[in-house]
């Protein structure tokens, strides 16, 4: 199963898309407003969704700049966050983050509350 970002059309039938997703064994992980949905599914889910007219696209990598919704605060942030996560810099800093693997009580770090 792979994580994907699904971008609905403004006038897209969300119920139809979600029923299609579930029917193919996929599921919704996260939602940002009405039109931006992070899903989990396989290649069959992706190809089926890509054929529906209710969506702008289904992405496993960066969403093109021109596809960003202009009047959707949460949706835009959800896509910007997704795109950041696809970047090499994000992966690199994530893999080398300070304190990785250490106890939350490690004396070299401040403890959470």
């Amino acid at each position: 199963m792979e994580e994907m970002l699904l971008l609905l059309r403004e006038d897209g039938d969300a119920s139809h898309v979600l029923n299609t997703l579930h029917g193919r064994g996929g599921r919704v992980l996260q939602r940002y407003g009405r039109n931006v949905i992070v899903i989990e599914g396989d290649e069959r889910v992706k190809s089926t969704l890509a054929d529906t007219s209710d969506i702008i696209g289904v992405y496993t990598s960066e969403v093109p700049e021109g596809q960003m919704p202009t009047n959707d605060f949460s949706g835009s942030l959800g896509i910007s966050a997704w795109n950041l996560r696809q970047s090499e810099n994000y992966a690199r800093t994530k893999a080398n983050r300070p304190g990785q693997g250490l106890s939350w009580g490690d004396p070299a770090f401040e403890r959470e509350g």
Binding site: E10, R31, E40, S74, G78, T93, L102, G105
Partner: protein, 381 residues
């Protein structure tokens, strides 16, 4: 003049409660509207997305609102809004219209056990919270438990609190970083138990407050350090400037997005909070710089704090705080068997260390146990 707000024809009896529909989801427009309502002596009672809100206004308030907002809001009906209504917004309007229907009035008048004290059949109470600072949360009646176990859909309020100086304000890149880290961490968590069918539904708010970084808290408590900027943020969002306002917001987003559960996370940048991250129902608080762990571990810390929200205890100890091996936690009342004070070796786990791993104890604390192997997790059996 024509109204600057949309008031559907169906309205509940003679109440001064008003349904207001904004012409666009612009956050500054929303904040301006809330400010005007407050100036007029009114109060926003419910929010359904960025454009739909309910407000209680004094008798003359409606006219005052029209005057104050002339030129800002074009005459706009819910039917003719320029953008398709989001699900939560439509639900708010549908609920408003339902409340005006004869069927609703009749059903309310005949509801079972009307007038019976909650004490005879109390609503859900919060689960045990371990060492989290819930005792400092000042509110009256017991609130409902909005995070009993992690199964189903969860509304997550993400409130980014910006102060009056650049040092207290999130840049665009920092804001994206926060949302990306949360997306990363909660996406990972949702994938750990497919049978839990977890969906996170976000309500993201960018709020500006005028509280300076060097305010003097009354004491060294969580509440004293949190309340000034938190209460200002809640007021900006149209809720009461108090911890009760936080509960009201959490209940509102749970209703708005029709989710099983809800909680809220406040992100700050540079305010002197009690710890860089902490949580107790229904809210968690995090500083952008994330202690010595840094912004690149926001995902892991946020997910750890979300564990607290859903009843998971810490599995690590410090010189001033020891985890308790035999204390029971979570909806299923499981012991803290992976605590570093237990006689058995500790394994890698989110609640013990900066790791993307879950031990069986934490899984059960989340509610993820299927005792009879029927594919249905115990809390739903």
């Amino acid at each position: 003049m024509d109204s600057g707000v949309a008031v559907p024809t169906a309205q509940p009896d003679s109440s001064v409660e008003q349904l207001i529909v904004l012409p666009s989801p612009d956050p500054s427009l929303f904040e301006e509207t809330v400010a005007v309502i407050n100036e007029l002596g009114g109060r926003v009672s419910q929010v359904y997305g960025p454009r739909v809100l309910l407000a209680n206004l004094p008798d003359e308030g409606r006219e005052g609102l029209d005057q104050a907002l002339e030129g800002i809001f074009p005459p706009q009906g819910a039917e003719g809004a320029p953008f398709p209504m989001a699900v939560g917004e439509s639900l708010g309007i549908d609920a408003w219209n339902l409340r005006a229907s004869p069927e609703f009035t009749e059903a309310k008048g005949q509801r079972p056990r009307v007038g019976v004290s909650w004490a005879e059949d109390p609503p859900d109470l919060p689960e045990e919270e371990g060492e989290t600072p819930e005792s400092e949360a000042p509110f009256g009646a017991p609130p409902p438990n909005t995070s009993k176990f992690l199964i189903g859909s969860v509304a997550v309020g993400l409130i980014l609190v910006n102060g009056p100086t650049p040092a207290l304000q999130f840049t665009g890149n920092e804001r994206t970083k926060v949302i990306a880290e949360v997306q990363d961490g909660l996406g990972w968590l949702a994938a750990q138990e497919p049978r839990a069918n977890i969906t996170w539904v976000y309500d993201i708010r960018d709020v500006n407050v005028v509280v300076p970084a060097n305010f003097q808290p009354e004491n060294n408590s969580y509440e004293a350090k949190e309340a000034p900027w938190r209460n200002a943020a809640m007021a900006q969002l149209g809720f009461s400037a108090s911890f009760q306002g936080v509960w009201d917001y959490v209940l509102a987003i749970r209703q708005q997005y029709q989710t099983d559960w809800a909680y809220v996370a406040f992100f700050t940048k540079g305010y002197p909070i009690h710890h860089f991250a902490y949580a107790s129902k229904p809210r968690l608080v995090m500083d952008y710089f994330n202690g010595g762990w840094g912004p690149d571990s926001i995902a892991e810390v946020f997910t750890h704090e979300t564990g607290h929200i859903f009843g998971c205890p810490d599995e690590y100890s410090t010189v001033t705080k020891l985890c308790q091996c035999n204390t029971q936690y979570g909806f299923l009342k499981e012991i803290n068997g992976n605590c570093d004070q237990c006689p058995t070796p500790q394994i890698n786990c989110l609640m013990g260390a900066n790791e993307r791993a879950l031990c069986n104890y934490t899984r059960i604390h989340f509610g993820w146990r299927d005792s009879d192997g029927d594919g249905i997790l115990d809390p739903l059996s």
